[in-house]
Symmetry: C2
Subunit: 229 residues, 2 copies
């Protein structure tokens, strides 16, 4: 898998997916309550899901996030009591902790601009308008007052991307908000860093014992959720 | 397309997707700057994307959202000046405004419990533990103090799901945070309602003129974004 430059122009013509197959995967997906603790996601499949995370869209392309992938049993056992004792934390194959940046500084904009210039092989100066747009919004604008919310929103785009992508690859997930971010930050040593725990996603395979797997999916009717104007 | 009950147990065996094809779609995706104003998403494809939105996961399955699908040119022309004058607002095929609930009340929990009992053909009383869990968290717990952030996060899961799903169907998108939510609420008549504008997504087809389509995608390296423990 190519990990460096991701050039749209080099992408081969898109293979369209059958809409019915997409909807079937989204129907198949549910928030797993009981994982099969014996099953591990194959390395190649997991590598693809990491690439999915990296390719997640974010506002201005700023990627104000990090993804911790936890497989060490002892660490996950330590996190479980501060995760409402949910078994998914210890029994899934890969536990992802989504981190968001606590703040966005001029240095972060410069880092993105320099990286963009490098990837696109252009002069950083040619990106000054882009830099100014971000600066006016995130450093000096109204959004500077709500960076925690803004960065958290971006992280949830990545979560939504992962949940859908995993289902398409036949990997089960359980998004987890029921945990103590402060305890996670302490246990993961994030307290004095730029990053803080935001949301968690357990990935692996559903247990045959999970009675939730066969329950009817509950959604409001389309006409209650969607309005056309 | 079946719009009512969505029963996992009735789902046929999942058709796995080739990881390379998934990654290719995510590479192909970018935030469109110039849409082809002449092209409309076919009705069947759009119906699938509405179903994608409805199937989006949310915390507790509460679905604290609504999706406004705007196709009326006059309305979109009115929104464009309060969307940093971005052409995507008027030139895309379907403009989705993601709304979140301003608050979560006991009535919303009861509505979900009653609907769940109906869909699953069980007694509402059997769901009292589930109701209590939500109540302790969202009505009386710490999350009751940050419902706006919480509901906004849920909406961004739906956005992430839509962005990925649309790419798989060959539909282009542009997520838009550059707009005035207060002006959107006023123009869309949401001011005295439960719902407020949160984020916008333009959907349609890229123009052959969009020079952003062929720029290299910019992401930090995997080892900068992902950490294994």
């Amino acid at each position: 898998m190519q990990m460096g430059v991701r050039r749209s122009s080099l992408v081969a013509p898109l293979q369209l997916m059958d809409p019915a197959a997409l909807l079937q995967a989204l129907q198949w997906r549910y928030a797993v309550k009981v994982f099969d603790a014996e099953r591990t996601i194959p390395a190649e499949t997991w590598a693809a899901l990491e690439e999915v995370l990296v390719l997640s869209p974010s506002s201005y392309g700023l990627q104000p996030w990090k993804f911790l992938v936890l497989t060490t049993p002892e660490l996950r056992a330590e996190l479980r009591p501060v995760s409402w004792d949910q078994s998914q934390v210890t029994d899934c194959s890969h536990l992802v902790v989504f981190l968001r940046q606590r703040k966005v500084s001029e240095g972060h904009l410069q880092r993105l601009l320099a990286h963009t210039a490098g990837v696109r092989e252009i002069l950083a100066e040619s990106l000054s308008g882009y830099g100014e747009l971000m600066r006016k919004d995130l450093i000096h604008g109204p959004r500077s007052q709500m960076i925690a919310t803004w960065a958290s929103n971006q992280v949830y785009i990545a979560l939504g991307n992962l949940l859908t992508s995993a289902a398409l690859l036949g990997v089960d997930t359980c998004p987890i908000e029921g945990f103590s971010p402060a305890d996670y930050d302490r246990i993961l040593g994030l307290e004095d860093t730029l990053y803080q725990s935001t949301v968690v996603c357990a990935c692996g395979y559903r247990s045959a014992e999970d009675r939730y797997a066969t329950l009817a999916k509950v959604r409001y009717h389309n006409h209650e959720l969607i309005e056309h104007r």
